[in-house]
Amino acid sequence: MISRWESVRLVAGREIRQALRGKSFWVTAALFALASTALMILPEVLGGDDHRSYEVAVVDIPEVAAEQLAAIVEAAGDELELVDAASVDEARRLVDEDEVHLAIAADGDDVRIIVQAGEEDDLVLLTRQALASAHLVGGLRDAGLGDAEVEALLSGPTVRVDELDADQESREQAAFLLALSLYFLLFIAMMGVAANVALEKSNRVMEVLLPVAPPGVLLFGKVLGAGAVASATMLAGAAPVLVKLGVGGDLPEGLGAALAGGIVWFLLGAALYLILAGALAALVDRQEDSGVAIGPLSIVLIGAYMLGGTAPESTISRVFGVLPLTSPMVMPARIAVGAASVGEVVASLVLGVLAVVAAARVGGLVYRRAIVRTGRRLKLREVLTQG
């Protein structure tokens, strides 16, 4: 005699083995691992050097202005190359054709900065500062001060800018990536469970299995197997992050918390969505219809993904972050951007667990009743009301 748990293990084991046999699991896992690795490595490769090299066209500007501009740009860690332009018109042309970032044209005391509208704000600022300094230096020299005295006067106190919420952008990116990955994995797993359930019903494998194993065992084993496969894919995506963490590398701010939360809500979400997908797919008679059967679930999933991916801090996200079905997408994103309160997190977890228990009961009932009724597509209501 075989125990229930042993049967569940066998059913789940078959799902996993079949998934490992197929190409799609390996392709998906490889894509996740590659994308994640790229995200971990690219900032190290590219991010180390965000210095710029500016090209500036100049027309008749005083030497002291050029000196000051060079000094200020270099102090900011950037490079400067000056291009002499013959006239103001030529300077305009150079800016217009993006040959240079900016042009400075002097006509006596009248100095103008020429730049494409809305661009090079930083450089404009530096240039203004350089021109002001140059004016000051000229005045001081005219007053008879030596170079050393001028320099001493110019080097005022160092000013540092402290940006608040400097990591907000990276937190939002982490939330978006997480919501996208969770959505993708849940969606694939859900489609897989639905297709397999409908297939077993249509190819009569069910008739062979039902006398051998109770329907609850068959559904739960399937959910467990598909969940394990999706988790393995998730792990493939998380591995590069963990490796980077292990070797002491910097992670994008918020990603660690988001990932930890993501795993918890991913498990909740997987249990909930996969049980419901299995139950709904038992209503249809042909595998082709399984996607339609789980249509409502897909819509909720997409909505939750869009919410979590794009507006995790909104009030509406606060609500949907707590509600089951949407919380698996929304809550990890809220945690990533630091918008979730402890109360919300706890409420979301408790409701999520309750929802899984309820789904297991109702879903198990629907599955048990629907899986043996072949011949046409069943309505959820008739399955629930007729014993």
Partner: protein
């Protein structure tokens, strides 16, 4: 000795449609039992009820003298019509998995599965996926899946549908072997002519009711109907209806159903008056003739859907 498997008063309706209406039947050990009837008679529904896949509206299934339990049913083997296999799973893997679900350990399951594949001439396809096999081979894998745990009761739903004559012969042998080993077997078919020689006991279903049941040879002997078989075609106008009617015409011969008290020789003479007769015989009814007489049905109900399409 009472039969191990018995069904008593099984009734089932789907909405307003009565699919089974008080069906009683049993499967005696050591007998090849056929559950026969045209498509839509209720055979598959009855089999699903036997296996507890479908709970009946009324009636009970008994095994070994008591109501059958889930554990009893787990020990039986079932082969549903056509499919019933994971097409994307390798043959041996699938058999081992099915056997393990029934509680066999991996080593035993593997040994039994390889034995069966050997016997079914499929040993060299053990690692192929089911979808890579021909229809006949897939049918044999299905049979193996139903038998791999050595069930005391084997139930086959339409096992002969779509098989070529060689495969039919092969499967008939497997069925007979299983029964001769003292085990229980029930199979269904709508192709009465095909299984006529295989069946020992029959239950004939028509529109959810049992219309004829028992030992096939005894039923034939007990039938008052006699048929005159002659080679070649016969024009119905040649014979007065009070003597005989044309029951069936096939490519090579005609069967005339003799009316009670009619003289077969006289009917033969009426045919010979029109053309020579080279071969003839007076015979008991065939299985399909028994069915048609018992069901009072039109011969059209026995036209095979698949053949009609083809």
């Amino acid at each position: 000795m009472p039969a191990l498997l018995q069904a008593r008063g099984i009734s089932q309706r789907f909405g307003d449609r009565v699919v089974l209406d008080g069906v009683d039947f049993e499967v005696p050990s050591g007998r090849v039992v056929g559950l026969l009837g045209p498509n839509g008679a209720g055979k598959t529904t009855l089999m699903r009820i036997l296996f507890g896949v479908l709970p009946p509206d009324a009636g009970e299934v008994r095994w070994d003298g008591r109501v059958a339990t889930a554990a009893d049913r787990r020990s039986w083997g079932y082969m549903p019509q056509e499919r019933g296999l994971y097409r994307d799973m390798p043959v041996l893997d699938q058999l081992v998995w099915m056997a393990r679900l029934r509680g066999l350990d991996t080593a035993t399951a593997r040994g039994r599965a390889m034995d069966l594949l050997d016997r079914l001439n499929l040993a060299d396809r053990a690692d192929d996926k089911v979808q890579e096999l021909s229809g006949g081979m897939a049918q044999r894998v299905q049979l193996a899946a139903a038998m791999v745990h050595e069930p005391p009761l084997l139930v086959l739903d339409e096992p002969f549908a779509g098989l070529d004559p060689v495969a039919v012969e092969f499967l008939s042998q497997v069925v007979t072997d299983h029964v001769r080993a003292g085990r229980n077997l029930l199979f269904s078919s709508h192709q009465l002519d095909l299984v006529e020689d295989l069946c020992e006991d029959i239950t004939l279903l028509h529109r959810g009711r049992v219309v004829l049941q028992g030992d096939l040879q005894e039923l034939k002997a007990a039938s008052p109907d006699r048929h005159l078989r002659v080679d070649g075609p016969v024009d119905p106008a040649w014979i007065p209806p009070e003597e005989a009617t044309v029951a069936r015409t096939t490519a090579g011969e005609t069967r005339l159903r003799l009316q009670p008290g009619a003289d077969p020789a006289a009917v033969l003479d009426r045919v010979r008056a029109h053309r020579p007769v080279r071969d003839f015989g007076v015979e008991a009814p065939t299985l399909s003739e028994l069915f048609l007489a018992a069901a009072g049905a039109d011969p059209g109900v026995l036209v095979d859907d698949e053949e009609a399409v083809a």
